[in-house]
């Protein structure tokens, strides 16, 4: 297994115990409110933050995040503004961009992922996740990330076969994103049996392993960490707080408080735990 080419701030964030990795769509519902929300996540104990750069065809997202993406796009979010967003953020935890390949591919004046990665590096981004980029197509982005010291985080699915797993791990740095269940993003009220099975076959991976897709409460998060994960990724459960606040017309401050509280619920649930060997 190939060693990451750089000292990853993201990987380092997993050193201090089980990590809480929240996701928000940047610019949801507005640029300003969203800045506030990200900072609330950090206050709530986030170890790493995933920021969605919204794409018009989010084929891997469930309804909650689709709606967030619509709100953000209507609010005028673009890749150009996304980088401004990153620059205006006042947080210290590592930041990961989650987006679809076409936005990466189109960025800048010439084709290919390099211009995007270059700009991302200057904007202070630490890593990239691209849900519609399997190992087969990841070559160009991977090498651009390596040149600019960014982590390319790959996703392992319940359907991933052993040979594919090796290839995904070899491309990956930062943390390995383990998809807890088949399907799209979205909060669930149970923890998938697939999660434990997935984690079982990752015991000898050197990278930290974070589990996402469907984690919605401190209790879930605890179960996942107890099953052997190094961190939990929580998206829809947080995004839904923003969506509800938006529909109810609540102030950004109120919403930010709720996000912080939810984050703390999860952080609290997992920081007491020692991850399984």
């Amino acid at each position: 297994m190939e060693e990451p080419m750089h000292n990853s701030a993201i990987t380092a964030a997993f050193d201090t115990g089980p990590a809480f990795v929240p996701y928000l769509t940047a610019g949801d519902p507005t640029f300003e409110a969203s800045l506030e929300y990200v900072q609330a996540l950090e206050r709530g104990g986030a170890s790493v933050i995933e920021l969605g750069l919204p794409f018009s065809e989010p084929i891997a997202e469930g309804k909650t995040i689709q709606n967030a993406i619509s709100r953000s796009l209507e609010g005028g979010m673009t890749p150009v503004r996304f980088f401004k967003f990153l620059e205006q953020l006042d947080v210290t935890v590592p930041l990961v961009c989650m987006t679809y390949y076409n936005l990466i591919y189109q960025y800048g004046t010439h084709d290919g992922p390099r211009p995007f990665v270059e700009r991302a590096a200057t904007a202070g981004l630490d890593g990239i996740i691209v849900p519609d980029l399997p190992a087969e197509e990841a070559g160009p982005l991977h090498s651009a990330c390596q040149s600019h010291g960014l982590d390319l985080i790959t996703i392992v699915a319940p359907t991933t076969t052993t040979d594919r797993l090796e290839r995904l791990v070899s491309l990956c740095s930062g943390y390995l994103y383990v998809q807890a269940r088949l399907g799209v993003t979205g909060a669930r009220s149970d923890v998938s049996e697939q999660t434990a099975a997935s984690l079982d076959r990752l015991t000898d991976i050197e990278l930290p392993v974070a589990v996402g897709f469907g984690i919605s409460s401190g209790e879930h998060a605890r179960t996942v960490i107890e099953s052997g994960a190094d961190g939990v990724i929580v998206g829809s459960a947080l995004v839904e707080i923003i969506g509800e606040g938006h529909r109810a017309g609540d102030s950004p401050d109120m919403v930010a408080q709720r996000l912080e509280a939810k984050s703390r619920e999860i952080t609290t649930a997992i920081t007491k735990l020692q991850q399984q060997p």
């Binding site: 084929i59 519609d132 088949l182």
Partner: protein, 416 residues
């Protein structure tokens, strides 16, 4: 690299779907390319007895006179269900059966691919769910009826504009969840590898037949082949067998209302992907797409729902780049006039999609037309009647028939 056509193609899908694509690729090679277990024999036999293949190649006398050339029509409108779409749908549902899948999903825009898939699934006794944008379910009621009659579940998609693009995205989401038991029957030569090849392979029966038919009938190959292109399955099906011949291939896209785009609104008032699109990644493949400067996919437009798509098959995009296929656009008005011309002079009411190819004959140069043309009538127009009349009347298309027949009866009756 496998699964690419020049710069285009590939597999831009979530990791969760990759094993299914690998499995599908295996099945494609085994059953489709190598006819394992007589798969292709069964496919052809079912397309014959259930689907109505081969479809005839008919000389269009009035069009031939009009353009002073020999125009032949490849009558895909006579396929069961009313369009070339069944050939692909049946092929894939049958393949799913051979692969041991238990459930079928598909997306649909105008409803042609959805109805074709629902028919094929009913025929082969497979549970079937069709995703269809909410806007489309409402404007294509008869096709929703047909799918429901064939016992398919129709699931409206309330995202975005509620049209084809959103339906495909939603079908992919279902598949991401159900991939172990479910086959996703994609409706055109689009999507990740191996779909573009698989669909093209099934649909190329169109040009296998027409090449044989035109030679049997005239002793020669045509000067040119014309087909409308949305995703491109009709075009690829109509062209494939002629690729190595000295035959000009013309793909006609929807020019919609105009070729200029409103990037701010994220709207292209056309579906001229081959002509005005740029390289991008959409629905699993790298291809030409309608997108804004940032890479957001634009809402496309065409009076014809079946051409109204912001992407196009990667192989077709490649053939256009390579100069083997010429791409053209025909706008809404010319297409509407094309419906009327074929209906009035040949007694065939074509689908609005097909009407783009018919309309192109008006705009083609003499040398593009050549001495002998094969034009694929990709579907019948029954699904489009209301649209054709509304849109033709609104735009004052001169060929539009009046509908005075629906006026209330004159009171009483006298001998006039």
């Amino acid at each position: 690299m496998t699964g690419t056509f020049g710069r285009y193609g590939g597999q831009y899908v979530p990791e969760a779907l990759m094993p299914a694509l690998t499995e599908l690729k295996g099945a494609y090679e085994q059953y489709v390319l190598e006819n394992a277990d007589g798969f292709m024999d069964e496919f052809h036999e079912r397309m014959r007895s259930f689907g109505g293949r081969p479809t005839p190649l008919q000389r269009a006398d009035a069009l031939s006179d009009r353009y002073d050339t020999d125009v032949y029509l490849k009558r895909e409108d006579l396929v069961h269900g009313g369009a070339h779409k069944l050939t692909n749908a049946l092929g894939q549902v049958l393949l799913a059966k051979y692969m041991g899948k238990e459930r079928i999903i598909a997306e649909t825009g105008a409803g042609q691919h959805g109805t074709a898939t629902a028919m094929a699934a009913a025929h082969l006794d497979m549970p079937c769910e069709i995703y269809m944008g909410r806007t489309d379910t409402n404007r294509q009621r008869p096709n929703v009826f047909r799918m429901r009659l064939n016992d398919a579940t129709v699931t409206p998609v309330d995202v975005g504009r509620g049209t084809l693009k959103e339906a495909i995205s939603e079908a992919m989401r279902d598949w991401a969840q159900s991939v172990e038991t479910t086959h996703y029957v994609i409706g055109s030569v689009v999507g990740p590898h191996p779909f573009p090849k698989l669909v093209r392979e099934f649909q190329s029966v169109i040009s296998e037949e027409s090449r044989r038919q035109i030679r049997d009938r005239t002793g020669s190959l045509p000067t040119s082949v014309v087909a409308c292109a949305g995703g491109g399955s009709n075009a690829m099906g109509s062209f494939t067998t002629f690729l190595n011949d000295d035959v000009a291939l013309h793909a006609v896209e929807a020019g919609g209302e105009s070729l200029t785009v409103d990037a701010d609104a994220g709207v292209a008032p056309n579906s001229a992907t081959l002509q005005t699109g740029s390289e991008g990644v959409l629905h699993g493949a790298r291809t030409r797409v309608l997108q804004d400067e940032h890479g957001q996919i634009m809402a496309s437009h065409s009076v014809s729902a079946g051409l109204d798509y912001a992407g196009v098959g990667p192989e077709l995009a490649h053939l256009v780049d390579a100069g083997r296929v010429s791409a053209h656009t025909v706008d809404d008005e010319t297409a509407l006039a094309g419906v009327h011309r074929l209906s009035q002079t040949e007694g065939i009411i074509p689908a609005l999609e097909t009407a783009h190819a018919v309309g192109w004959l008006e705009e083609a140069t003499e040398s593009q037309l050549g001495e002998q043309i094969v034009l694929t009538v990709s579907g019948r127009g029954d699904k489009d009647l209301e649209t054709v009349l509304e849109e033709s009347t609104r735009r004052n298309i001169p060929e539009t028939p009046d509908m005075d027949v629906f006026d209330p009866p004159a009171n009483g009756g006298t001998d006039a």
